[in-house]
């Protein structure tokens, strides 16, 4: 675990400034500032409706923001921007529902964007896909279709698909929530390995124990704002807002 680096000289890899977002009359993000440095592992927690998923999705442009600026490794996105291609090549995303392409094999799922977005040649995409699948422990499933894989395996392919694009940061949106309980561990194991290798990760998760063990920093969102953030141990043991205290109590009571 790397300590939280607060020194002003380090330029953050991901910088969110005054992010605002409304769905119709409902304002779900009310001016969020957040910075993530290279190699950090950050978990966003909070109740459903607190805005954590929306914030995560806005980082690679799946939600258009209404105000503020998102900066990832020098690529800027503001509400006026439409072309997100450069940003998205630096930001990978893994979804709750896996979203593998069902008409393609595991290997083809991984190779597709390398071919059409990165314009790599056939041999290079093949090699990259093989190594990405091997990394998530599924090198032998290259030719399997998603329907032939378990939920846990599908999610690992989805992780490999994102990793193969060599993103600077990987976003994980409740990636174990759709899994049967016995399949959660294999996916979290992969994420843990990525964290140890120094991958920058931002996770929205309900796995509190995992967040506590693996993350450098916890961000607690409440009512469209960051209510509290800091090292997991501090937040879990000495929450400074009543909302967080109640949230932790609620989660641990489950």
């Amino acid at each position: 675990m790397s300590p939280v680096n607060t020194s002003a000289t380090v330029r953050p890899l991901v910088k969110l400034s005054a992010i605002r977002k409304s769905f119709g009359p409902v304002e779900v993000l009310k001016g969020v500032d957040m910075a993530v440095e290279e190699g950090q592992v950050v978990a966003m927690i909070g109740r459903s409706g607190s805005g954590k998923s929306t914030l995560l999705r806005s980082i690679n442009g799946l939600e258009r923001i209404d105000g503020g600026v998102i900066e990832v490794d020098g690529e800027c996105v503001d509400p006026g921007q439409i072309d997100l291609r450069a940003l998205r090549q630096k930001v990978g995303m893994v979804f709750q529902q896996f979203n593998l392409f069902p008409h393609l094999t595991a290997g083809e799922n991984v190779m597709l964007a390398l071919k059409v977005v990165k314009k790599q040649d056939k041999a290079a995409t093949r090699a990259a896909a093989e190594s990405a699948l091997a990394k998530v422990g599924l090198g032998h499933k290259f030719d399997a279709y998603p329907s032939q894989l378990s939920g846990g395996q599908q999610q690992r392919v989805a992780i490999a698909r994102s990793l193969a694009m060599a993103p600077k940061v990987l976003l994980c949106d409740e990636i174990t929530s759709a899994l049967d309980p016995e399949l959660v561990a294999e996916v979290l194991g992969v994420v843990r390995k990525l964290a140890e290798e120094g991958m920058t990760l931002i996770l929205v998760t309900h796995e509190m124990r995992f967040a506590r063990e693996v993350c450098d920093r916890l961000v607690f969102m409440h009512g469209g704002r960051i209510a509290e953030q800091g090292p997991p141990a501090k937040l879990f043991d000495r929450p400074s807002t009543p909302e967080l205290a109640q949230f932790i109590g609620m989660v641990e009571a489950r």
Partner: protein, 216 residues
């Protein structure tokens, strides 16, 4: 009055049916191509394109094919294009087919889960890349049965072109009726010829749909 045997009547109808088949093929193929372009515009992220495609579809699905034929027939000369029953029929049926196919296919595109759009977007794919590699291959699979089913409407639609003077099987039926005074027999045969053309298409659409449902 000449005497017409049943074979005389049938053979003349069958000869005319060639034009029904040819016009159907032309309308279906060119309408399919135009419909694909229309579909892409209809689901594209560019609002003016989307609205224009939507309008086109609404107009062609909200007006009679007969009126579309008349308008094409009388409008093409106004813009300096020499026209015949053939070209008018082909152009009008193509536009008609394009509108219906685009709408059928839009339903298929919308049946592809939203997560597929999001996953491909998060991999930095552009709209054309998403359509080409992720969305259309999935939509196409479920689009086959209703597309085959719609081909029946195209074949039947060609009958209306007889009204602007295109000599296909319905027009031939009218001409033969005028010569033989046997409308019951002639229109009965005309109906059977259409049935022979359309029923296999209907059956295969049904079979394809059953196969798709089993596969899922």
């Amino acid at each position: 009055m000449l005497n017409f045997t049943l074979w005389d009547i049938l053979s003349n109808l069958l000869l005319a049916a060639r034009w029904t088949v040819l016009l159907s093929l032309i309308a279906f193929v060119s309408g399919g191509v135009a419909g694909l372009l229309l579909l892409v515009a209809r689901v594209s992220p560019v609002p003016p394109l989307r609205i224009a495609a939507k309008l086109f579809i609404e107009v062609f699905q909200g007006t009679p094919l007969l009126m579309q034929l008349f308008i094409v027939f009388f409008a093409l000369p106004l813009i300096g294009i020499e026209t015949s029953a053939w070209t008018s029929a082909a152009v009008a049926l193509t536009l008609f087919t394009a509108a219906y196919l685009a709408e059928i296919w839009r339903g298929c595109v919308e049946a592809v889960p939203k997560g597929q759009w999001e996953a491909s977007a998060s991999l930095a794919m552009t709209f054309p890349e998403q359509m080409r590699h992720v969305i259309l291959p999935q939509a196409l699979r479920i689009a086959v049965p209703p597309t085959v089913g719609f081909s029946v409407q195209v074949v039947k639609g060609t009958a209306v072109t007889s009204i602007i003077g295109f000599v296909e099987v319905t027009k031939a039926g009218t001409m033969i009726t005028n010569a033989t005074f046997q409308p019951f027999l002639v229109y009965g045969l005309v109906g059977l010829i259409y049935f022979a053309l359309c029923y296999p298409l209907s059956l295969s659409a049904k079979a394809l749909e059953r196969k798709l449902n089993v596969a899922r």
